[in-house]
Amino acid sequence: MYFRYLSRELRRRARSASVVAIGLALGVGLVIAVNAAASGVSAAQGEVLHSLYGVGTDLTVTKVPTPGSGGPFRFGSGTGGFSRSEQGQPINVSRLTSSGGLATLSAKSVTAISKLKGVLASTGALSLSSISVSGTFPGSSASSSSNPLSVNTFTVTGVDADDPGLGPLNASNIAHGQSAVQSWFDSVQKGSSSDHLLALVSSSYAKQQSLKAGSTVTVHGTAFKVLGLVTLNQSASSSDVYLPLSEAQSLSGDKADVNTVYVTADSSSDISTVQGEIQHLMPKATVTTAADLASQVTGSLSTASSLANSLGLWLAIAILIAAFVLAALLTSASVTRRVREFGTLKAIGWRTRRIVAQVLGESLVLGLVGGALGIGLGVLGAFLVGKLALPVQATVSPTGLGSGAPGGFGGRFPGGGSGAGAGTGAGRFGGSGTAGRSFAHTFAANSHTVTLHLTAPLSLEVLGLAVALAIGGGLLAGLFGGWRAARLQPAEALRRVE
């Protein structure tokens, strides 16, 4: 009797019942979708931070050159001269500079840092940018068309093979090529001189340059054998070529210098202490922790983050409240319409309890239906967020000290790439033409920009919460309606004649 009466009643007021269920479904679906998007965004933020600074690397130490020093832009030991008088002559120039406008740090400082209290380990790495220009210098009408100038830029990172668990090639950064990385570390650690001339190449650079394992890649005049290809996590700021640190150092002319130190603290509670110690040890250096970075993530990712966390959440809550109120009002209205019905039931001996249970049951069913629909909507919404969301960009500016110089430098090379004038802008990782690889990419590493695809992962807890919300909404409406039904006086109800 109970369920028959219940289902018939819901069928009778099918329209208002579906409004209630759909309202609850919308609220619940939005909660699920927004939550999924928000956790996707925070996962993305985590990924950005991890990929830029490495998992297990709690701090990074860098240093911006003192103005006027010319810092990173001094030419390396050139393999060719460079002057205006050579118009029309074939040229082949290559130079290696410290990447990102970073000043060098001495190898001693790495050791000093590793001895600090609370520091588990530290390692240095050297990020370099290589620019090579070959062809005929433009300006000569005779030969400009025959052999146009081509510019090739790529990034090189010197990795300390003695610390495989730290630094840019630590395992958690690597998406593909773990075994190549492992054998590279093993070979370089063995230390024979031929083993030192081994390189790892990023898959994208390999594709662009048609390199594969066994090929040769030339960095600043030195040939390295490609041991394997490696792909870092989608959002990682990968380098095109990885060399043993000592090789990178000798190529750049800085025998024992690095430009980034990766530091791992004993425990996360030590991080701020360690940060202070390093800062004290090296007053001019920039010491960055993951916590600092999180607040410095800007760009569309942070927009998405605030969108999901504030606007989306409030929207979901607002719609949920509206759905609750709507459910309560419509349930209450249905009780009002059924005053005579309930009065009659009381007159034939039904207990108030039983009538309240009937009303409550009706609303509960609507809550369940709304919850089920809401899960469907939420899953669909989360799926659409993952599918349709434009790639988001995140920019991390660890120092905030911008330098306009790289733009000017890029400008000197004709045809040097679309990004030439954008030296102060955000770098574009991954975007590349052949010789047109952006100079901005190469030089403008005052900030790191990462483009990644947003996902919207669903968690069981959130689905459970959503169903609880829907049932709660149904219960609330039912209790409200039931309370009204309970207060109803049968005598008054029965006096009503239509």
């Binding site: 009797m1 028959r4 009466y5 018939r8 009643e9 069928r11 009778r12 005579r340 019905e341 009065g343 009659t344 039931l345 009381k346 007159a347 034939i348 001996g349 039904w350 207990r351 108030t352 039983r354 006086q489 049968p490 005598a491 029965l494 006096r495 004649v497 239509e498």
Partner: protein, 244 residues
Amino acid sequence: MYQLTQLSRVFTKGRARITALKDVDLAIADGEFLTVQGPTGHGKTTLLLLLGGLDRPSSGHVIFDGQDLGAMPESRLVDVRARNFGFVFQNYNLMPTLTAQENVEAALVPLRTRAEERRSRALAALTEVGLRERAGHFPPELSGGEQQRVAIARALVKEPRVILADEPTGNLDEVARGEIVALVEGLWQRRGMTVVVVTHDTQVARRAPRTALIDHGALTLRYNRPPTGSAPAGPGRSRPAEAS
């Protein structure tokens, strides 16, 4: 069966005080057929609701089987209602979403009758009112007279001590009215139920041995035929044959 003493019901709405019933004294014998007649708005429904334990007196007592309905807690009153009183209303008051049979079964729900027994008793009651074939029909598919017969089946299915009917023929034409009156009279005669019928209709009112005339909340009795052996001899005297 019923003993009403100094029964009054006063409604207060803000300043207004409406005396619907005033100092009513009445005894209704077990197995009596009583009709209640009077102008509209003079307190007939109020009296019926008090008899059915659906309303409480402002003063005075409604004693049913020695128990004061007005002083009874609601939880006990619900039980008394469920077992003893069968209501029939002018507007039939059937649940529109339930079939004729389910409407009748609804009266057995508070008695916790098992499903099959509920079914068979409901069908028996519908057979008694001549609607066995309409058991699966919904109220909107039935005529007014048929709906009222379903309502009567719902009232009689639990075999109550008392049938309380408020203008059961008020919305019906003459033919249907005759059917309904015959049904109610049959319950009284064949089953010995106590029957109280409120009506505007003098013809209907005169079918009962006694009529309670209500005028401005005050009650007087009219005897429609001289007291005989088969009907109560007068107010306050029970028929010895129908022991409770």
